[in-house]
Symmetry: C2
Subunit: 363 residues, 2 copies
Amino acid sequence: MNSDYYVVIMAGGVGVRFWPVSKSDRPKQFIDILGTGKSLIQQTFERFSKFCPAENIYVVTNLAYRDLVAEQLPQLKSDQILCEPYRKNTAPCIAYANYKIRKRNPAATVVVAPSDHVVLKEAVFLAALREAAAAAARNPWLVTLGIKPSYPNTGYGYIQFDDRAADAAHPQLKKVKLFTEKPEYEMARSFVESGEFLWNAGIFIWSLPAVMAAFKTYLPEIDELFAAYADLLDTPREAEGVEKVYVSCRSISIDYGVMEKADNVYVVAGDFGWSDVGSWNSLYELLPKNAEGNAVVGAEPMTYESKGNLVRVPADKIVVLQGLEDCIVVEDNGVLLVCKRTEEQRIRQFVEDVAREKGERYV
Amino acid sequence: MNSDYYVVIMAGGVGVRFWPVSKSDRPKQFIDILGTGKSLIQQTFERFSKFCPAENIYVVTNLAYRDLVAEQLPQLKSDQILCEPYRKNTAPCIAYANYKIRKRNPAATVVVAPSDHVVLKEAVFLAALREAAAAAARNPWLVTLGIKPSYPNTGYGYIQFDDRAADAAHPQLKKVKLFTEKPEYEMARSFVESGEFLWNAGIFIWSLPAVMAAFKTYLPEIDELFAAYADLLDTPREAEGVEKVYVSCRSISIDYGVMEKADNVYVVAGDFGWSDVGSWNSLYELLPKNAEGNAVVGAEPMTYESKGNLVRVPADKIVVLQGLEDCIVVEDNGVLLVCKRTEEQRIRQFVEDVAREKGERYV
């Protein structure tokens, strides 16, 4: 494996869309959402362990989740866990990792990826990643992975690309014309029909010089903040320096701050069996279904006249369902949720209602 | 309290209609089915403690439940718990108690009652019981309590009575014309419309001489069996004697064996808020309902667009229900059941399926 290759796993996310399984003290990336026996961050770490040496993998997370990361990824040395004191979106997170990695290896080629996504076709994914990394190592490009869209999903950002290859040496890399935010449905449909758009998976590949140059150009004030405290990194005063940076730093995404503005952005398209599993319904779509269209994580329920349900309960539970259709049935953390799949967007409301009624400890 | 008054609580029943809350190792009478903090047998014991001295209350149960009875009713001395080695229906159970009580008090007036029924109007019930006991103490009558029927229930036996009073001294006691088994619906409806029929609650009141005479007349072979081993009662060889009796004794109910045949049967009618709570639906009918028609035992669920449900989960559970109508939602003993209320008769099938699939320990 190429020892100049590095990976930065972003694991600071919060969210209650998988409530009651995910809660604010244990968000989605730390959950075994697929029932594989491994949490999403553990799966992500294992996937990238096939791309670069494990000691080159960094996890950036919120201070609150440091212990969870250390517990779930005991392979990590403590200096591979970068802790953010405040949530400032992805650009500061990436800048922090850049400065940290630069101390070890200024010639690094870095992959940045979320910790809470699913990739079912790992071999295809790794091949595309290696293609992208090889190109990024040799060129001052900002490379991203794009997912061939299978339907007009309005929950993802899209990437428009130019179908001509970037250059002869890298036929899989296409020049990016446009990054866009989550579109309305009609727009998403025209994106998909055009064949020129890909889903933005939030996975980026670049050399350290290329991405640091981009920060200097597009987010100079963030770069200057990190530069000012760079000497404190890898010293006992690192946390103090990071606190000073984050308290002043603005919150901005790498997409909006850099990718939408830069003109040296390239994409490798592929069908990786990728999903951000953003909600119970997207998990339902992802999972295999039985003859009645029920998808199961954990204990297999006994079902009677029950179709189209997603059932996720602890593995030692006995569940009998009769006459239940198109529902989410989830039990975890002392909470039972039964909810129509079409109403999953109301889970946030349910969580707030429960918090008000029963107290924060359940949320 | 009259120290000649005795009560025999029959607590040998089995059944899975309240599965997964009731199981074969903990049937309904040992369950806090109403969520009052007390099991049905504890409520039954407390109710009869207001009628006679606690030391005059006997519980007849299956050997398998002796420890459960002792645990739930620590007030009982061990010789107040009569253990049946085999299930032989109610007549042998009553004969056993008769012979046992006769050793202490041949002049006893005895109430026999199931352990797993609900009585909401306790004062009315106790008044009727005292009326019946006073009459039974003075007359060689077999007295029963009858419930004024509120609708044509096909799950109960019925008692037809003669509206004229038994005699001037006991205006509340009516002569019974007929005991009948559970009727078909049309028959039940005509029973209710006639005004001449009452529900048979399985509660009997008689003097020891009266009931023992009835056994001698109508079930002489059972009486002879108990008579043959009566000397062993209250000795270290009691269990041995009872085993000998029960192994030969036929299985027969007191209704069929005695009440349907005797001509000295009287009834005290009343509205006691009585129910045998024979199933989840009858519990649903019994419980108070909120504005959406949901009935709850244990934790109060948060409900959204959910009507007509019976929800019974442990008190420390958070439950969120959305879009669920007319269902039974029950969790206990590591089992979650969600089932349309109209399909509750299939619970027996579910239990058998689970037993086959997962092993007996869940049933």
